[in-house]
Symmetry: D2
Subunit: 275 residues, 4 copies
């Protein structure tokens, strides 16, 4: 802001600053690019997200990887907290926006949070030159699990198709993927303990995106790190999963489901006598 002020970009103090979209002129602009140019350039939805979130015209493989993440995270069934709350709200007869928000507000540390967590933890370990074993030991010492490692069912022998999709894309299109490679080395050790302690889909997306931000040549290292810290991956998960939540709202309306009430038999009422 100060910098913008000095440059004379801002004359009188205005209450808001905004730097992504300009709707005032003869044509709507995303990060300075006319909407008609957006379409002639064929950048697709990933490109639009690049302009609006990062204020950059991103390379094609970057755009495609953003879309891949959205497709992979679009939904994971009706049982998880977010889909569940969306469904319960839809069945209470609420509109799409309310039901979607009822679901989105459950996304956080325990649901969806492993993507951001993996990105932050693995890049921290990598940047501090911890050996995979040292990283595993350090996490265990803090009595924490490594975010992005482990799966209830999937294992080395029974790999998760989504992980394969992500990895294949990285191998094919990224110039290098040091943090993903590092995470795979961690996986080599954890799966020795237990075959299910694989790099899961959240972890794979998280570390790959770090490699993308850092290695694409579009951002400085500081910028890349700032975006990771800020939670841009959380943004991708929120956006991707919104497809699923809206889908569940449509689905419940299509199926004309009535009000849900959780069965009291499934609740332990631990009432205490008031003092």
């Amino acid at each position: 802001y100060d910098w913008a002020r000095k440059l004379g970009l801002i004359r009188k103090p205005s209450a808001f600053i905004s730097s992504i979209v300009d709707e005032r002129g003869s044509e709507l602009m995303y990060a300075g690019m006319k909407i008609s140019d957006v379409f002639t350039s064929n950048m697709g939805l990933g490109g639009v997200i690049g302009l609006i979130w990062f204020r950059r015209k991103l390379p094609d493989y970057f755009c495609r990887f953003i879309e891949l993440i959205l497709m992979v995270t679009a939904d994971h069934g009706p049982a998880v907290s977010g889909a569940h709350n969306t469904i319960v709200s839809a069945r209470a007869g609420k509109d799409l926006q309310s039901s979607l928000c009822s679901g989105l507000l459950t996304i956080g540390p325990r649901f969806g949070g492993a993507i951001d967590g993996a990105a932050q933890k693995f890049s921290w370990a990598y940047d501090n030159n911890l050996s995979p074993q040292a990283f595993i030991d350090a996490t265990r010492k803090q009595k924490e699990l490594i975010p992005g490692i482990g799966h209830k069912i999937k294992s080395l022998e029974n790999p998760d198709a989504r992980v394969t999709i992500v990895k294949d894309f990285v191998k094919k299109h990224f110039k290098s993927s040091p943090v993903l490679d590092y995470a795979c080395n961690v996986e080599l050790l954890t799966t020795k303990k237990r075959s299910t302690l694989i790099l899961n889909v959240d972890g794979c997306i998280g570390v790959s995106f770090v490699d993308l931000l850092r290695g694409s040549g579009v951002f400085s290292l500081d910028e890349a790190n700032e975006y990771i810290q800020m939670g841009v991956l959380n943004g991708l998960f929120v956006l991707g999963r919104s497809i699923g939540f809206i889908g569940h709202w449509i689905d419940q309306n299509r199926l004309k489901q009535g009000l849900y009430r959780h069965p009291t038999e499934d609740i332990s009422y631990m009432n205490m006598e008031y003092v």
Copy 2:
């Protein structure tokens, strides 16, 4: 607004108009009353709601009835949609505001909506001089249930304590209660059909509040009706039940409950092959 303009209350056009609270002066004012006077007048929380929602210093029994509604609607257990979604969100590790909103967004036509519905339907029938039987017939003809009538367990023989509390207050403090009396006459007929078709707590609150707004001498009939149409009773339910939802958030945190995932065995997956 036009009227305010003519009176000269508003000079230059400003983007917002607000008429309930003024924080600019030497003392915070609720509807023109200094906060210190609010306390010396002993109007209590019901009185504060009266000032902020209705811009009126309400009579004492009106204030107490507002508080009674909040106390009666404060919670109804963990099984209903709103409490359930709050609990699921709390167990996903989310903050109080997010969890509360996840629950509040389920309140609507099917959960909580019967209070407003009863107020509107019964006063409509009463104002149109429909006999109780004519009202019952008209509703059945439209293939609708009468909001505020019916209970799963409670009946004439096994009355709901909350209904008794509300009715007793009305009988003791209201000068008259024509819409409640009318609703009780409807109940006389519906309970002949089935003993559980009583005027339930939602219905009782709804019609009593109509009597209060209309009979207190504070509002014109038009004002009273406008508040009913606007959904002020919904506001009371939302505020009252917020006590419960916040309580459930505190409770789940106190009990240190982990992430909830609905059991897939309890979900029928009706997947269709894509065309």
Copy 3:
């Protein structure tokens, strides 16, 4: 449901039914299609939305049109209610989900609602064989504006690039576009009155999507109409604009903007003395 029951798809009554995504098996499935097949089929994000929202493998131009709508509606600057509330919440230091929801909850009849409104009104008029003039007269008689008609700045002489993008796609890829054609005939008349009374971007998206749902051969007319009534277009707007809202959240964090307080000089305090 009954139908599903008869078919024996559902054995014991379970609390939830869900028909879009199955995460239980060896591979995640969207509407019965394995996630790996989703990627080998190259259907893109539009295709994924087709599977999850409509349970159908949609034709390619349908998928591309969904993506086009998301790109066109992705953002419209920081001044509109939804972006504004997201920004105010971001500046209050709130997380991405909370800020996004604070914005999403403003989407409705007056902000974003014209898309659904146009789809419903224009198809109603078209289906009832109203001549364009008869439709205009009917709306004026009800003292309503036609949703999807009119723009503050854009006009016949100064067309909106977004409208051109949408129309060009329709002309190139749809077999026929009766409702869009009808809307253009309405525009011919309204722009005679005033050059700014064009078919705006909301209107153009709304009616084109009706043509798409009805003319793609994928849905029966009843299904197409049900999706319009349900508000699927609202879903597309909500999803598309989420890109912008998340962008504004990132932007305000990048710019390190502090707490916003609306200037009291811009508010008319119309305090009434309490009675």
Copy 4:
């Protein structure tokens, strides 16, 4: 939970545990107290909150202090972020729940957060036997402001009526108030620097509530501290301010205000050319 299990209170594992309200029996119970007893005991709304949040029948002055906090925090005008977003959402034609949530989701570190912050910081300093001067120095060293200290307009000479109301109640009804006394000693020093560096209303509520939880004899010190850490004061602010937000929603509907769009003249568009 384990403890409950051992006691045999919980037989088969159920998905949820809940310990505040039981709606299953012949009469609704708040923390084991029948709703009819709640009313005959005259505990009021503060008492109901005590039962539902703390599972305790609280002493009368405790209940009254809860109500006092709700009354004092009920609203602070239309300019603050939460009221502002509620108003913008109401003007977009949205329902009460959506508008309320749009506002509630702005409550957090910068808006409303000083109450919890003051409670935590001052009790930390008090418990660690820091002298008021040492506490001030420690905070300055961390380049932080003391939450709960400072006001734009109010000062020693021009005291805030709300602070006086809170303090008077404490002095009259609490047996002792060590943390409030400590905070007043801090104020003695900060106001020497600047007359506006008073203990503000957020600070005064925060520290008084610590004294209440600790000194009422109802909770152990651990329980008291757990409630402070958990953010129960945030809960009181959220509940109290909901009165104001709902009031603003009613107010905007009463005033029939139309869609708000922030003036673009008040926004600095800092568009960057895309790279």
